[in-house]
Amino acid sequence: MGKEIIQIKDLKVYYPIRSGFWNRITDYVRAVDGVNFSINEGETYGLIGESGSGKSTTGKAIVGIEKVTGGQIMYKGVDITKASNRKKLNYNKDVQMIFQDSMSSMNPRKRIEDIIAEPIRNFENLTTDQERDRVQELLDIVGMPSDAIYKYPHEFSGGQRQRIGVARAVATNPKLIIADEPTSALDLSVQAQVLNFMKHIQQQYNIAYLFISHDLGVVKHMSENLAIMHRGRLVELGSRDEIYKHPMHIYTKRLLSAIPQVDVANREAHKAERERVEHEFLENQSKWYDADGRVFPLQEVTPNHLVALPEGGIRAAIQEEQNEKESD
Amino acid sequence: MWKTVLRRLLIMIPQLIILSMLVFLLAKMMPGDPFTGAINPNTDPKQIEALKRAAGLYDPWYIQYGRWVGNLFHGDLGTSYIQHVSVSSLIWDRAVNTFWLSLLTTIITYAIAIPLGITAGRHQDEWQDTAVQVFNYITFAIPGFVFYILGLWLFGFTLGWFPISGSVSASASGFWGVLGSRLYHMILPAILYALITTTGTVQYLRTGIVDNKVEDYVRTARSKGVPENVVFNKHILRNSLLPIAAFLGNTITGLLGGSMIIETVFSYPGMGKLFMDSIGQRDYTTLTALILIFGILTLVGNLLSDIIMSIIDPRIRIQ
């Protein structure tokens, strides 16, 4: 693993709620409520959570299209939550995004050539010929035919469009790509294809990914390190192995148990396990979340495994783990 | 809900103030003052100037404005330079006529528009729908005054079914006689005016029904076995009709403000006709007052629409 290229420090994105006669701000929707993690060069970092957890908002904040209420995002020693800093660094040349909905993220009246070339035209100074060559190169990388450049987005299937989206994101040789649920809108068979292209590109160009998804199976395939988000905060983060093998937070356990398994013989056993985990979650919810229902701050359990532990801390959690292992 | 109403009223206040200032500015642009036509032209100009100064015509603008607004609050709209009577009395008689005409027109408008809209929505893409759409297109495309001229020519002059001017016959007597005569004079302009005004409502209603027909809640009702008639009347219709009510305020003020053309064509003695007469006579006091009134009516109409909207919008009601 390489060095850290970006650090997210105590990131907060709040949306004000207005009510009352004078339309004053009475409360906030805490979409992202104090998130800390960092991404290394060339690695894939998974960010998992259900709808409304704040993971997409985090991704958008990192790429610079969401306004940040508090905290910092440090890139090349500069806090890029400020638009002026992003401009100075030509930030988006290095940090790009793949959108979930490939149809809506492309201007329906622009040809593919112009869609892919847009970042190139903004950040690099190429001649028309050089630019066209680069676009062809990119299309090649994602396995699209050359004549795609004259077509419009509506002429392609979902999987093809998503690959074009990948080509656009890779156009300026970025160091980091935020992939916001890139395969959620695709058929299963096409998902594998797109993911493989992404992995191939990563290996060739040493690009880091922030892979945002709600699909644990996909994230397991793609990421080395990952973090799990709930209600705007991280509940657990660490290496893939640590988390899949030793989940500690009850929310993590619940998510993991929900991964569908194709194992017909042991169907009943799996179902019983899921029900047990769900039961445990509902029972212990009050313990694992503070009085306002918010997630506790992360604490280090092992060097590469942080968990949002309740009061009572590490000892109580490890004790519980042991109790579980004994009862298995 | 009262919060919304109150907030709306508060927003209206600065609008009223700016409106009054604009009208005042307009009034100042117009030539003439209280002494035009009242003074013997042979009088010594210095005396005229002294009189004007005494009347406050050389005071700074904000003092004059304040005086004018003060008068307004007392119901004093000024005195007509031309007719030498108070403007309020001039306007009042005419306002009553315009009011009744607008009321009759509104009633007829909705009486026509609602059945038409429902028919078009219910029989979407069939001949009824096409007929209504054609009707809509024609009444929308033709400029109002052309429609009235043709209507008057056909029904008033050629066929002689209706009177061609005035609000009441001079020979009418007795309560019912006068009432009948008034209605008789109003009916043709009201019908023609209404036909032109139906367009927005019909279109909106039709679109509302068409959109609601494919909503999930309708499909659910149908699959529950609810008879089609009930589905249409109870579910679709209710949701489509409510938004129409919101336009009531705007419709009324639109009628009051746009009365100039219809009253001119039919020589109907209302506010609109008064405006045209005043401009012809260069009676600027009356004109200023009328413009102010038209503006206020629009504001009130908008307020009414917003209030009705907030009442019928279930999202606000539940709060």
Partner: protein, 307 residues
């Protein structure tokens, strides 16, 4: 994966003949008009009227049309070489019809050009930037829409000095831009949070660039439709004002002032040649332009649904 050779790239460049159509492009809209037979008929009518009015006006001079010649007054249909007779001042009705038609159409178009341009810029700015700018602009728009249009315009036509047709255009446009501004603003608002705008931002495009290069082209078909319907509406406004007597100056012929002859009952009964031709011409213009606009609107809606 091998890199493409230059030859292959050139082959693609030459393949321009297989170019595909953008959704809801201008050519597609034109094709829709041709398909709808009635719209085509309406369009041809409009062209004929334009030739009649604009072409005919080339042979006339304003002074000759409005010159008063008492000797010739009140001739009827086809009398004394006047196809549509003359009015009380001896002016030939047919000539006034040609010139008045041209004037009314020209004013309708001029007002529309101004209102569309101003409304477009204002709507784009208000819709895209939102926030304080949007609030301020919308307050102004709200207020102007409250003002009683016709009364104010009428008063101003009598009060302003050096009043002519150009002044009238500006007066009407002064109120008209608010409607188009609202219309375009609502469209921009619907597009603003769309992913492709965000994607453009991520690709490094500036706000201005996004507004004009990305959002604007999607509005083109809307603009075309609005322009057509707007022209019809503005012709109606000018003729209404002239009908009341406070539109174009009395020396400039207009369809409205011709129709105004019908205000006198004597003319209605005894001298229909004064006002009937103008009424019919205005009727045809209004119906045709509106029909074409409606047809375009239907075509536009169908396209949007397809997408």
């Amino acid at each position: 994966m091998a890199k493409k050779t230059k030859k292959q790239n050139d082959a693609v460049k030459d393949d321009q003949t297989k170019v595909s159509l953008p959704p809801s492009g201008f050519k597609v809209i034109v094709r829709e008009i041709v398909k709808d037979k009635v719209a085509l008929a309406a369009f041809i009518l409009i062209v004929l009227i334009l030739i009649f009015t604009f072409g005919g006006s080339l042979f006339l001079s304003k002074s000759s049309v409005s010159e008063i010649n008492i000797v010739e007054s009140y001739y009827g249909w086809g009398q004394n070489g006047h196809l549509f007779g003359t009015d009380d001042g001896g002016r030939d009705i047919l000539n006034m019809l040609i010139m008045g038609g041209r004037n009314s159409i020209l004013i309708g178009i001029s007002v529309t050009v101004i209102t569309e341009l101003v409304g477009l810029v204002v709507g784009l700015v208000a819709g895209y930037y939102g926030g304080l700018i949007d609030s301020i602009i919308m307050r102004i728009v709200d207020f102007i829409q409250i003002l009683p249009r016709f009364p104010i315009i009428i008063v101003l036509t009598t009060v302003l000095s050096h009043y002519n047709a150009v002044t009238l255009v500006w007066l009407i446009a002064m109120f008209g831009w608010t409607v188009t501004a609202r219309y375009f603003r609502s469209f921009v608002l619907s597009q603003r949070e769309r992913d492709y705008v965000l994607a453009s931002k991520t690709s490094g495009s500036s706000d201005l660039k996004i507004m004009f290069r990305e959002v604007l082209p999607n509005i083109t078909s809307m603009i075309i439709i609005d322009v057509v319907l707007s022209i019809a509406g503005n012709i109606g406004v000018e003729t209404s004002l002239s009908f009341l007597g406070y539109g174009l100056p009395p020396t400039t012929p207009s369809l409205g002032s011709l129709i105004a002859f019908a205000n006198d009952p004597v003319n209605v009964i005894n001298r229909p040649w004064l006002w009937l031709p103008a009424t019919i011409l205005l009727l045809i213009i209004s119906l045709s332009v509106n029909y074409v606009g409606r047809a375009l609107q239907r075509a536009g809606d169908a396209r949007q649904r397809e997408n």
